[in-house]
């Protein structure tokens, strides 16, 4: 209880020292904004650019042309899976429910590996994260006229439950979000529903529809940030898959494996290196700022710490009080930094929907900012815990 009180009081008292607090909050804000910006860049880099940098996508020209049981497609998937350079092969399937509804499978483990929608496509609600969840298009109307549910038209929205009734069993999914209409470009003008993999499989059992393959995505092995391996792997896989593709006679049911990726890869390597350099600069600046803060704090609070030791504060009490001050300042700086970057993204995108910082970015950048605090905590603790109260009291007799 005592230590907690020391921590909380120290955090509160920190903000009374206005000049020092404002100066360091401002510095931590700048640093946090920098870190958040680049964390966002890198997270996006991993996600949005994942397909561009590591993925080779083949998808359909027209719907209802390649069903799941097609031997050549299955062989193509098997070959793609067999290459040493392949990290994974992700297959997105769909089926038609009645005449006007098309249900797509979402791989919630690889939400960014789907060309139709990604978590960024969410207009309201949230993305699918578990079993029994579904997404619909904004403002879509489900015309159930020709389904087993009978004649009905519904306007689904997040929170609603949708029951898909088969001959002997049914599957219930809960709508958790709506997808922005931008993705909607279906010449057949069907209402699209996206469901998680488990629900999709359950629907196949309950409804026994003919299932089609919409898209096959092959991801190359390797870490995008750490090496050129994924680019080399991708180069190799493109050639192999192209050979397989034509060898199996898949064209024209599927789009061919894309050409002309070399320039994109080289550009991305340059961009990546530049981003890494900027990020490293931010890390270095953070460590330097933290050291500076630790050194200044050791000077500012020397007398105060000597007095506290005189009145009976032990080393842990002193450390906690320093930790409280440093964490408070950096946390407030971080919050302002989040607000600043969010505002910047909104301004850039002119849309609130597509520019919300993700939880991952918040978590990653906050962890980095907390790590930045370490040098200041260590240096101030090291020098202030050693302070002898006599240093203050020696000025008399």
């Amino acid at each position: 209880m005592g230590n907690l009180r020391v921590f909380l009081k120290a955090a509160r008292f920190t903000f009374r020292n206005r000049k020092r607090t404002i100066a360091f909050i401002a510095l931590f804000t700048i640093l946090s904004a920098y870190v958040i910006f680049f964390s966002n860049t890198f997270t996006e880099y991993y996600r949005t650019d994942l397909l561009r940098n590591k993925g080779i996508i083949t998808n359909q020209i027209a719907y209802n042309t390649v069903d799941q049981t097609n031997d050549t497609v299955q062989e193509f998937i098997a070959r793609a899976n067999g290459y040493e350079q392949t990290e994974s092969v992700i297959v997105h399937r769909y089926f038609d429910f009645g005449a006007s509804i098309r249900i797509f499978e979402l791989d919630e483990k690889n939400p960014w590996a789907f060309t139709l929608i990604t978590p960024r496509s969410i207009a309201t609600g949230r993305f699918v994260s578990g079993s029994g969840e579904a997404l619909v298009l904004t403002g879509s109307t489900l015309n159930l006229e020709s389904t087993l549910l009978g004649n009905a038209t519904i306007d689904p929205s997040p929170g609603d439950k949708l029951t898909l009734q088969g001959n002997s069993s049914s599957v219930v999914v809960k709508i958790v979000g709506e997808i922005t209409k931008d993705v909607y470009n279906d010449p057949e003008n069907k209402a699209w529903i996206f469901v998680d993999s488990a629900s999709f499989d359950a629907m196949l059992v309950a409804l026994q529809p003919t299932t089609y393959i919409y898209e096959i995505t092959v991801l190359a092995k390797g870490n995008l940030l750490l090496s050129e391996e994924p680019y080399n792997n991708k180069r190799f896989l493109v050639e192999q898959l192209k050979n397989d593709y034509f060898d199996l006679g898949l064209s024209p049911s599927f789009l061919t494996v894309p050409n002309g990726i070399e320039q994109n890869i080289d550009t991305r390597i340059e961009e990546r290196n530049s981003d890494l350099l900027n990020f490293s600069f931010g890390i270095l600046a953070g460590i330097l700022l933290s050291l500076l803060y630790g050194i200044l704090l050791s000077r500012f609070r020397k007398t105060e710490i000597a007095v506290l030791k005189t009145v009976g504060y032990d080393s842990w009490n002193i450390r906690l009080s320093l930790l409280a001050e440093i964490l408070s300042i950096s946390f407030v700086g971080y919050l302002i930094g989040v607000f600043a970057i969010q505002s910047y993204l909104v301004y850039q995108a002119a849309s609130l929907i597509s520019s919300i910082l993700s939880f991952d970015v918040i978590l990653l950048s906050f962890s980095i900012v907390v790590l930045f605090d370490l040098p200041s905590v260590l240096i101030s603790s090291y020098s202030l815990v050693k302070v002898r109260p006599l240093d203050v009291l020696r000025d008399t007799g």
Partner: protein, 224 residues
Amino acid sequence: MVEPLIEAKNITKIYKRGSETVYALRNVNLQVMPNELVMIMGPFGSGKSTMLHLLGGLDTPTEGEIVFQGEDITKWDEKRTTEYRRLHVGYIFQSWELINNLTAIENIEVPLYPTKLPTDEIRARAMRLLRQVDLYERERHFPTQLSGGEQQRVGIARALITEPNLLLADEPTGNLDSETGDIIMRMLKKLTRGGTGTVVATHDESLRRYADRVVRFLDGEIIV
């Protein structure tokens, strides 16, 4: 027979200043009884502050022992000495040494924050002490908004909040005018009750009237 609250036996304190050896204290013996205000008087550099530091567990003697409740505090480790300072000693500084970004009441409460006492109890004690030092209406003032005398009274209240056995005051009136100094000394005299022993180090001869006993230091030795 009443036992001394604290007893310094044959204390010698030597400082090294380069190659020079300086005797801050030489074979000093001092007893402080409960309810007694002992005044250590002497000129600058006579060793009176060093004596206070040793009694308060802020420094250790080169030779000799300091016995408190039957134990030699010079043998204690850092943890026990810190505990001794927290539980048994109240320290009043010449230049008050209040924390500038804390209000008067918070400055008084500070020594109790690391303890297990409930926050309400701490606040109640601090308010009681504020009344005792006649600063009830200055509760939310910061040190820079208080006069020197008022700051010293906050310093006294801070020293008393742990209900210490031993109150150590180093030149408590050194930075005050004589009228305010008298107020502070009357306060210290009044507070030296209930088993508390007070040791005041000063060079100001006019304060000796407040002492129950005067001990004179010169060049690290007791001369009277």
